[in-house]
């Protein structure tokens, strides 16, 4: 079982800023290489009677692309993000209320779904919503030679034969959500899961560092 043909797999440089918008309760921007995403969270807030759930909060995810109207692809991604967030959020603490998460694409240079997940997690943290665990998104691509590329750019994604995104949780590094495209063997899938779990360590370290930096000065 070969792991990663490339000798030094790397994540592109990433960065994040929290609380950059004044209106949303929580906001963040997450940048991975050239891919950047802006996330805003409103909640817990009033919910429409048609959408209310009696014992938990209703989470709604909206993805906005830069150009044109949202299509089915955006709806599918909204589902992926929503299911991950619902698994992580303690929504039973806020019954009959609404949580709205809005994700805006600022630039797409590959690994977009992973960037959505990371921005969503940081925005939910910024809004102070109670969560049972944090989550990180990692994208892997398998190119024509069978090599596994982590955090691919748009060019690498185009030339890949399979593309997988996993949401990994922070407590036990388990897979919360997976979204794949293309064909791959079961062995390749296991390798990618293992690699993503390793990569998520870096991202969780980053979350920890950002929060530590933010609260290093008492107001």
């Amino acid at each position: 079982m070969e792991v990663c043909g490339s000798s030094n797999p790397t994540l592109r440089e990433f960065g994040s800023e929290q609380n950059l918008l004044s209106r949303p309760d929580g906001s963040s921007s997450f940048v991975q290489g050239d891919t950047s995403v802006l996330a805003g969270v409103y909640g817990p807030a009033e919910v429409k009677v048609s959408k209310e759930i009696y014992d938990r909060a209703t989470l709604e995810v909206v993805i906005q692309t830069k150009v044109g109207l949202p299509s089915v692809k955006e709806r599918a991604r909204e589902q992926c993000v929503r299911e991950t967030c619902e698994a992580a959020l303690l929504s039973t603490l806020n019954p009959r209320s609404s949580l709205t998460l809005i994700l805006q694409v600022v630039h797409d240079d590959g690994s977009l779904l992973a960037c959505f997940l990371n921005a969503a997690c940081m925005a939910l943290m910024d809004a102070g919503l109670p969560m049972s665990c944090l989550f990180a998104g990692v994208t892997c691509a398998i190119d024509g030679d069978g090599r596994i590329i982590i955090d691919p750019s748009a060019v690498q994604e185009k030339e890949s034969r399979a593309l997988m995104t996993f949401a990994i949780d922070s407590k036990e590094r388990r897979v919360m959500m997976s979204s794949t495209k293309g064909s791959f063997t079961v062995h390749e899938l296991h390798q990618c899961v293992a690699i993503s779990q390793k990569a998520s360590d870096n991202i969780f370290e980053f979350y920890r560092e950002s929060v530590r930096r933010r609260y290093s000065k008492s107001v």
Binding site: P24, Q64, R214
Partner: protein, 395 residues
């Protein structure tokens, strides 16, 4: 989601303060908030911060057939998206009054003023012209959306580069960015809108109202002007009655503001051009302020891959064995495939004799087929007993 309503005491406080010539954030009557313009990675993407109001504009282009009555003109398309991120009152999919108003104002400001040379967008007369599409996304609503939108739209149009086109007789080739440098749009002038808010039936005037001031204002006057002191569009809303000299005074103030803002836009475009020429990285990532406590950036980080192989092995060992594979499909005839046996009919019909006859016929047919087939896992199952084998475990 509904926006929090403005309380009566807040309203009274703001109005009283305006009467005493004071504003909540300490500005003077004619002062604009801090305007910050930054650009994205690709051409035509621009961010404008007007105080806390944040707006993003993206310009894109496409080749389409022109309108029939104007075969030589390109088409400009404007779209303002009120993102639900900007305010809890904005909802997706609903065309609110504000959205229609902003869209119409932007169209009048940019399209009717003919600031872009649409004839230069023509490629083949009557067949192919460029459609320039401007999408403006409102990211944070803290008042004065119209001004921020107009600044973002015109800056993005100035920043945009369209692909170069070569025409050789009948053939039209569109060159990609790598083949030939993209060319900028030809822009005659830059119309920028300035908003004036009126209070107490036109007695008091404020330039660039913030969100709270907008909520208590009586009416709004929007003047779109360019730096050559030409008025491109005027709109008065809210039903306030204005005197002639009030409007003239506002237009004088607007011309001063517009020249300042145009200066700012040109400086930002120059800076961006310099950075791109020097080959530096430009984009949202770079414009992220590093000294802020709420921002953090890492560098390209290598991953620890030493024990990934063991981990992957572990996963395989711990995983359950995959379920028994379905027998490979059989082709009983051209255009039909068969996998498994199928379930027995559970309708409980009373014509059982006919069923039995059919079953017998089926048996004969299948045995016949079984002999013909060479490699088939199902073969064994068929040969053993005529029991229906479920294709999948349903429960």
């Amino acid at each position: 989601m509904r926006d929090t309503p403005l309380s009566n005491c807040e309203r009274d406080f703001i109005l009283k303060a305006i009467e005493e010539k004071r504003r909540l954030d300490g500005r003077q009557t004619y002062d604009y908030r801090n305007i910050k313009i930054s650009f994205g990675t690709d051409y035509g993407c621009c961010f404008v911060d007007l105080g806390k109001t944040r707006v993003m504009a993206q310009v894109s282009c496409e080749l389409i057939t022109p309108k029939e009555n104007r075969p030589n003109d390109g088409i400009m398309f404007f779209n303002i998206e009120l993102s639900p991120m900007a305010s809890p009152a904005f909802e997706t999919g609903r065309q609110s009054e504000l959205m229609v108003k902003l869209n119409r104002q932007l169209e009048r400001c940019l399209r009717n003023s003919k600031c872009i040379d649409t004839e230069s967008l023509c490629v083949v007369s009557g067949e192919k012209v460029w459609q320039i599409r401007v999408d403006v996304h409102l990211l944070n609503h803290d008042g004065n959306l119209m001004d921020a939108t107009s600044i973002a739209a015109i800056t993005a149009l100035c920043h945009f580069r369209r692909p170069d086109v070569g025409i050789q007789g009948e053939d039209v080739t569109v060159y990609s960015t790598e083949e030939r440098d993209p060319i900028p749009l030809s822009i005659y002038h830059m119309p920028i809108s300035v908003s004036f808010s009126f209070f107490q039936q036109g007695t008091y005037l404020l330039v660039d109202p913030c969100d709270r001031e907008e909520r208590v204002m009586d009416g709004l006057l929007m003047i779109a002007m360019n730096k050559h002191r030409e008025i491109c569009s005027i709109q008065s809303s809210g039903g306030i009655m204005l005197l002639k000299d009030q409007v003239l005074r506002c237009s004088k103030i607007a011309s001063v503001k517009v020249s300042e803002i145009t200066e700012l836009i040109n400086r930002a475009l120059e800076n961006d051009k310099k950075v791109r020429k020097a080959g530096g990285r430009c984009g949202f990532a770079e414009s992220m302020p590093q000294e802020r406590i709420t921002a953090l950036k890492t560098h390209v980080s290598p991953l620890e891959m030493t024990d990934v192989e063991e981990k992957a092995n572990e996963i395989v060992l711990r995983a359950e064995a995959p379920p028994q594979t379905v027998p490979s499909p059989v082709l009983p005839g051209p255009g039909t495939g068969q996998v498994g046996e199928g379930l027995q009919s559970s309708w409980g019909l009373e014509e059982e004799e006919e069923e039995e006859e059919e079953e017998e016929e089926e048996e004969e047919e299948q045995q016949h087929k079984a002999e013909e087939e060479v490699t088939c896992v199902a073969e064994e199952k068929r040969g053993v007993k005529m029991q229906p084998v479920p294709i999948s475990r349903w429960q």
